[in-house]
Symmetry: C2
Subunit: 287 residues, 2 copies
């Protein structure tokens, strides 16, 4: 399988720049988290990668060739989105057939099993489904479709906790059986932390983070104790946010710690999670 390369993508609507020179690669067989605040441009970016809309400039390539007008390459990319693209009278089972016609080799066995697991009937009309049911029916297509790059825009919209857990488990299972690339774009960062290997953060129309999850978390340290000692210890380190209560201060560092610097007894070192790292990075632009 070939790498997918997003190269210098710019998207402008009149005078508004939605994407400002975005470049990154998607490796084959990897699970990505695409994170960003509301309005950051995630949906626009996913629509460009899947050729639903055109960039103002820049290009998406697979194996060095532009996907533009290349049906063979476009057939490697599938986007599950919030938009409802199906005719109103279409039944869930017919959306499976559409994916089979477009991408070939649709996994009907998996789709049937997932219909049961999500408590859906293939005969139900898409237009009559609740938000959670509609999301589930789209997830089934996304997991059973034969594509090397599967992009999921808000894949858990309206799902209750049980169905979210079911989706996460089925995603991992499907990925292990047939490794391919998934891009998960969601606001539920806490929940996908267990799934993603690599994180892309889009903020203010640019990519500010493009790192493996492990590398990110290895730099996320919460350091708390008497304010003076915390300040001394964190001097020279990148501090994203600090909170004080009385004389006790907690500083959220995003940096490798200097192992040679001794840690005072009264200072406590802890880790913090991806969701908080995201919030601190995108709140007011400390980064």
């Amino acid at each position: 399988m070939d790498q997918l390369m997003v190269k210098n993508i710019v998207k402008k609507y009149r005078r508004t720049t939605v994407l400002n020179n975005i470049s990154f690669n998607l490796e084959p067989a990897k699970i990505y988290g695409l994170l960003g605040r509301n309005g950051a441009g995630k949906t626009t970016l996913l629509n460009i990668i899947s050729n639903r809309i055109f960039p103002t400039s820049g290009e998406v390539q697979i194996g060095g060739e532009s996907i533009n007008d290349n049906d063979e390459l476009l057939n490697k990319i599938f986007l599950m989105s919030e938009a409802n693209l199906y005719p109103r009278e279409m039944k869930i089972a017919q959306t499976f057939d559409l994916a089979d016609v477009a991408y070939g080799n649709f996994d009907y066995d998996l789709a049937d099993r997932l219909l049961t697991a999500f408590e859906l009937s293939g005969n139900a009309k898409v237009t009559n489904l609740s938000t959670g049911q509609r999301t589930a029916s789209k997830l089934i297509v996304a997991l059973a479709v034969n594509a090397e790059y599967v992009l999921l825009d808000e894949p858990i919209l309206g799902l209750d906790a049980n169905h979210r857990e079911l989706f996460y488990k089925e995603l991992v299972k499907s990925y292990q059986e047939k490794p391919r690339t998934f891009v998960l774009s969601t606001h539920l960062i806490e929940e996908i932390q267990q799934l993603v290997e690599h994180v892309l953060i889009l903020d203010k129309h640019q990519i500010i983070i493009n790192d493996d999850l492990d590398d990110l978390l290895a730099r996320a340290h919460a350091i708390s104790g008497p304010a003076k000692l915390v300040d001394e210890y964190t001097a020279g380190l990148k501090v994203l946010k600090s909170e004080s209560m009385g004389n006790i201060k907690t500083s959220y560092v995003f940096d490798h710690l200097n192992d040679e610097r001794p840690i005072p007894d009264q200072v406590k070192l802890d880790h913090y999670d991806l969701q908080h790292l995201f919030i601190y990075l995108t709140d007011g632009g400390a980064y």
Copy 2:
């Protein structure tokens, strides 16, 4: 402040029973989580408590009196819901005035501060807002309205992680300054675990859990080790779910442990969280 009592509420639509004899109390100045799967009847229940729809039988009381047709009592209850009840041309600031007229003493200072925090303008028309912005504008009303019982149905719909964190912080702050009762009905159980004191779980149209969070979590034990030892240790305890990998078994217990029973060296005791407790309780009806 008086207790709110939900007494033997039944709600039927034709032959479908949505709520099957629901009874519980809401204490003054307490934060509740109302949890349930999609379709469990949470929204119907909240609509009945706030007198937007009528039960088939049963009654909601405050201080022993029925709220039905009692304006004084109804003015103690506010429901923030997904439904859009405002006229299309209404501006956010006008929704504040409506809440002031209906409930009196609207906290305009708080509302102004929250408008800035959520990056909204009071002049924006409700109909032009994105889902996340509309949710934020409703949350501002819910936090600034003068009501003793504030019911929040899906309060975080469409909010990004930053705005969810902002809401949780402002809720706690507002609650500390002016203690009153909040009921949070949401699918993001992991996130509200830090906020709620008491948990109500609605499953298959009945209340199956009505307990303080601490009491629930004190009974949630994950017990793992060699299958034989785990089975011996958990004999007689309520086990909600078990998973096995090779000879290693993990059983999710929902029970107080018998402290007199010795724990074998190879068996590991852990806790699990509210979201998983909810999933195990409502998946297939182990309870």
